[in-house]
Symmetry: C2
DNA sequence: GCTTGTCCTTGCGGCAGCGCAAGTTGGGTG
DNA sequence: CACCCAACTTGCGCTGCCGCAAGGACAAGC
């Protein structure tokens, strides 16, 4: 198996204060894998044998209920760790990460985790920070879902997507991966119908510009004030 | 300051595989604090200078929105770590833990965290596991809030409370701390009115027995089938 | 260029659950 | 023991959002 170059991951905050030698040792145990759009890296409930790092692309992590309803738990961006069940002492994966766009992931076998932590506590500290942020996000989302009405939640979700996956363009900021109305609905606990209606309304006000699995934000300010709940109706 | 006895915490899973000497060293740096019912251990947004362990009692962790609405993020049970902002590299506390019943907490200064992790990676691993479970719980809650209607969510919340704070009694299982309808409402993203109505209905079916800040579950099976969404109306 | 499938839009009716408001109960306090 | 206040109950009207359903638009494949 081909060696993986250090430069691929050197810039990631996760490995910020890790010595070159340690990093090389870590990379030596990793494998790379290409995931075509629409395909899952692993399935919810599967036995967890590896943990992962997203190098390139974008993943949507979904969970399904026993009734078959689906929700999007989070979006994985390049540089993020995911599927680190071993760190959490779980033996199965709690969700399914599906490639929204063609992606490249790095994989390590479970056993590596222990030795990493032993040899390089700093990495463990970084990983913990990451999980902490994720917990924070989850609580934010719970708070939003509890107290805000649909339009505000959608505004918040779009703002978050802008920060995570925004790319400047002539007319505004584009969400840089295929994102359907259904996806947004599953992120905000509503239905695609409602999302569609909201986007239509926003589009007629010049706040966003939609399209098939596309979204472009033209007026971030307006979106922010909607998210704050300042009803600027007109 | 009086020494803290090792036996107080020895049985906690958090310290499971920690040597006596290490544990003693840890306890030497801790202080104890009594928190009367209704009082907060610290306030949301305050600068994080310490992290904590609940020894005895029960805490409700709340967050308030900018509009002043409140939600209960989680319940802290004896043996749980809380307020570990340092581990998450945060410099303020994201929520407010309030004593539901008179409580006793152990406190460490922030700086201790780093040295703990260095000296005893196993503890860091345990802490990570804890945070992982918490993340898991948060996602479960998000899923419930997204896909389930109010009565099911309340049923789930009550079942969770039973597992965390249930005490067997002659008539059933009692939730072992003062819990108002308002509290349940803030856990399930609804209003105290709706919770009150639901409890009344359940009480008339003999599933639970209510009271002022009290709750006793008489028929767990029925509650579970409600939580599963098996509409057993009659 | 036509077909096919997926994604999106929009109107309409219904209802779960919220908000208001008025009453009741129970526990603690002087 | 009487008072008071916080917690709880319950009826009623309203509405935000869902669910259904029908139709339109875009992209890919043949």
């Amino acid at each position: 198996m081909a060696d993986i170059d250090r430069s691929l991951v050197r810039s990631l905050p996760l490995f910020a204060n890790m010595a070159d030698a340690d990093l090389d040792r870590l990379l030596a145990r990793a494998t790379m894998r290409r995931v075509p759009a629409g395909e899952a890296v692993f399935e919810q409930g599967q036995k967890a044998t590896q943990f992962f790092l997203l190098l390139h692309g974008r993943l949507k992590v979904t969970q399904v209920t026993s009734e078959g309803q689906q929700i999007i738990v989070r979006v994985v961006n390049p540089g993020d760790l995911f599927g680190f069940a071993p760190a959490l002492q779980r033996d199965d994966y709690p969700g399914t990460p599906t490639a929204a766009a063609e992606s490249v992931v790095m994989c390590w076998p479970n056993e590596v985790w222990g030795s990493i932590v032993e040899q390089n506590p700093q990495l463990a500290v970084n990983a913990m920070k990451t999980i902490g942020q994720r917990l924070q996000e989850a609580h934010t989302r719970i708070r939003e879902m509890s107290t805000e009405e649909v339009e505000r939640r959608v505004a918040h979700a779009v703002l978050r997507l802008m920060d995570q996956a925004g790319r400047r363009e002539a007319e505004g900021v584009r969400i840089d991966f295929p994102l359907s109305r259904q996806d947004v609905a599953e992120m905000t606990a509503t239905t695609l119908h409602t999302v569609s209606r909201i986007f239509s309304a926003w589009e007629s006000q010049g706040i966003v510009k939609g399209g098939r699995q596309k979204l472009l934000v033209r007026d971030r300010k307006r979106l922010e004030s909607l998210a704050e709940g300042l009803a600027d109706k007109d």
